[in-house]
């Protein structure tokens, strides 16, 4: 085991996959000479050269589409978006080309491309740079979507994404890049489509993904202090979604809160909450609660931006409702 930051874990994954397969290359803004806007690709230009670590102009639509084309012609591009906010300019290429070219060609083409970069609220970045687009990608059949919340999963999921023969969107987070965690020294893959039970418990199930895992674990710890054992599940993969792991947990606990930092309407969180409500209806002892980001554009002011996001107190408030316990 080594303690790595999330960014170091991603870097190790790309480094190993580039060494393993000459068709893997990185393309995006500032990925080369600048070492990555968030230093995720640090050192890779020096090691692999400019053909394989390709700095682009600021043209997300162009270089994202280029990644799709390179993939159908036999390469394995890792397209870095400086942030998912800028990826909206490339939405057409992801939704209409990457996700559909295999189906539209009757199964003739493969599109082994990875789109990765930071997603979700950060700090002091205001409305255009602090928002979660998980649902935008998750909505689209033909895409896979993963959201590692720890360095160990960042490493294992990114490696799986690069080896996958389908387009995979990786949701990282600016705030998580410097977070540290234990990562095994040996090479391993984390399979796409498997959720992780991060903490076992029998009284209620907390389901989340990406950065809110941290506040969810804080809430679980606070609840444990009061004698409530929460089971915490990290989705890790949003599409495909590991529904069985979720249902097995909720059938055990009978209570469920979904935590998603995105806006509440038509979100991954609202979809998961609906799935639980429908498929665990007979075993639920309370309504499924959703702790989401507030339904507002993110303000710059720090106090306000914290108020807009899921927090341990908000999760505990939801726990009071599903446990019918005002005393918590």
């Amino acid at each position: 085991m080594s303690e790595l930051t999330y960014r170091e874990a991603l870097n190790r994954a790309m480094d190993e996959e580039m060494a393993r397969d000459g068709n893997v290359f990185i393309i995006g803004e500032e990925v080369g000479e600048y070492d990555g806007a968030y230093k995720v690709s640090k050192g890779l230009l020096a090691k692999y050269g400019p053909e394989r670590v390709r700095d682009t102009p600021i043209a997300e639509l162009g270089f994202t589409g280029l990644g799709v084309g390179a993939a159908i012609a036999g390469l394995r591009p890792v397209v870095e978006w400086m942030t998912h906010n800028f990826a909206l300019l490339a939405l057409d290429q992801v939704v209409n080309n990457a996700a559909k070219m295999r189906q539209m060609s009757g199964g003739q083409l493969k599109v082994p491309v990875v789109f990765r970069g930071p997603n979700g609220p950060a700090e002091y970045l205001a409305a255009q740079h602090s928002q979660s687009f998980a649902a935008y990608w998750a909505h689209v059949p033909g895409l896979k979507v993963v959201a590692p919340a720890t360095p160990a999963d960042a490493y294992g999921l990114l490696k799986s994404a690069i080896r996958d023969d389908n387009p995979v969107v990786v949701l990282e987070a600016e705030m998580m890049y410097s977070w540290k965690g234990e990562v095994p020294d040996h090479e391993y893959l984390v399979p796409i489509g498997k959720a992780n039970i991060v903490r076992e418990g029998s009284d209620l199930t907390l389901i989340t993904f990406s950065k809110p895992l941290r506040v969810t674990l804080e809430a679980a710890e606070a609840l444990a202090q009061k004698g409530i054992q929460a089971e915490v599940i990290d989705l890790r993969s949003i599409r495909p979604l590991d529904e069985e792991t979720l249902y097995a947990s909720v059938r055990k606990t009978g209570r469920c809160i979904v935590i998603d930092e995105a806006w509440p309407m038509a979100s991954v969180g609202s979809h998961v909450a609906w799935l639980i409500s429908k498929n665990c209806f007979d075993t639920l002892d309370a309504q499924v609660e959703l702790v989401s980001g507030e339904d507002v554009p993110m303000p710059y002011n720090h106090g306000l931006e914290l108020l807009a996001q899921p927090s341990a107190p908000k999760i505990i408030d939801a726990a009071k409702k599903v446990l019918y316990r005002e005393d918590l």
Partner: protein, 325 residues
């Protein structure tokens, strides 16, 4: 007007092109009829009138290593790449024997083996993708070139301008071809172009810009050869092929934006008749030869319709296949 003459190439080169153009014409006319009979649904954009562009350009390629991508008016390019008319017609009929197994339809013909990579329904969206295919050719040093077709309506998409820039800064082996049929749906290209000289705009990206007469296949072929050679040597190129479509934008177009006289005037310079009359004048084509070509094309297209009619519908389970590799 082309500076090459028929004698610069073997007779078979021209006869092959004449046959391909006639096959496209026959196929498209039949597709129009089948659409009228409701055998074909949805959006169906016919290539009639523009045959010389796809035929002449693609004739300049080596499809063992080169690739072709285009937009939604894709039947002609597919046939010029050698796609079986049966599989093409079956695709229009939505049958499982279609070139995209009935899932793509008119706008999404694909044949990976013949290096035809679509068939794209979003205006200009194939341009970055084609640029990526050229990136892979460059990266893997295959010696191949990508030919990327689009219409004049695509010229002002950001996707095009971003791609031109990327192709030039990395010197990708790509030839961009705008088939300027003058009408982007119902909008004349001059009305929406700050600079109607597209080749000049390409030069703004330090890219070689050619203009050719898209109705004169000799000019198309010669220009394509120059541009493809340039791209193969690591210098991307751009061609504006001035052409004209005889039919509406799609099957539902009443064509109020142009006059019948305009359409008829272009039909006087029909690309197929132009090559045919030149070959006749050069004693390279007899009436009998021409009759044979016409008959062969009619037979091929009739067989395609028959094949499409008899082919099975996709099984219901096909709804969930071909989505993930």
């Amino acid at each position: 007007m082309s500076s090459i003459s028929l004698n610069d190439y073997p007779k078979d080169t021209w006869l092959r092109m004449l046959k391909t153009m006639q096959l496209i014409r026959t196929f498209e006319e039949k597709a129009g009829q089948m659409y009228g009979l409701r055998k074909i649904g949805g959006f169906c954009h016919l290539y009639t009138g523009q045959e010389a562009v796809a035929t002449g350009m693609i004739s300049a390629l080596d499809l063992e290593k080169d690739y072709v991508l285009t937009a939604y008016r894709d039947h002609g390019h597919a046939l010029a790449c050698g796609i079986d008319p049966k599989a093409a017609m079956a695709e229009l009929f939505g049958k499982v024997t279609g070139v995209s197994r009935g899932k793509g339809g008119s706008m999404h013909f694909f044949d990976a083996k013949r290096h035809f990579l679509g068939g794209n329904g979003i205006v200009g969206a194939q341009i970055p993708v084609a640029t990526g295919v050229a990136y892979a050719q460059h990266y893997q040093k295959t010696g191949g070139v990508t030919l990327c077709f689009f219409g004049d309506g695509a010229f002002h998409q950001g996707a095009l301008h971003e791609s031109f820039n990327l192709a030039r800064i990395w010197n990708l082996p790509i030839v961009y071809v705008v088939e300027n049929n003058q009408w982007g749906m119902g909008t004349n290209w001059k009305k929406v172009s700050a600079n109607p000289d597209f080749a000049e705009t390409a030069k703004a990206y330090s890219m070689k810009g050619y203009v050719c007469d898209g109705l004169d296949i000799l000019d198309v072929y010669q220009t394509a050869q120059e541009a493809v050679a340039s791209a193969r040597n690591g210098e991307p190129a751009f061609i504006e092929a001035r052409t004209y479509r005889y039919k509406g934008h799609s099957m539902s177009d009443p064509q109020k934006y142009r006059t019948r006289e305009e359409v008829d005037a272009y039909k006087q310079r029909d690309a197929i008749l132009l090559l045919k009359s030149r070959l006749e004048a050069a004693n390279m084509l007899s009436q009998e030869d021409w009759d044979t070509i016409v008959a062969l094309c009619e037979t091929a297209v009739d067989e395609a319709v028959s094949f499409a009619e008899k082919s099975p519908e996709p099984a219901p389970g096909e709804l969930f296949t071909d989505i993930f590799a």
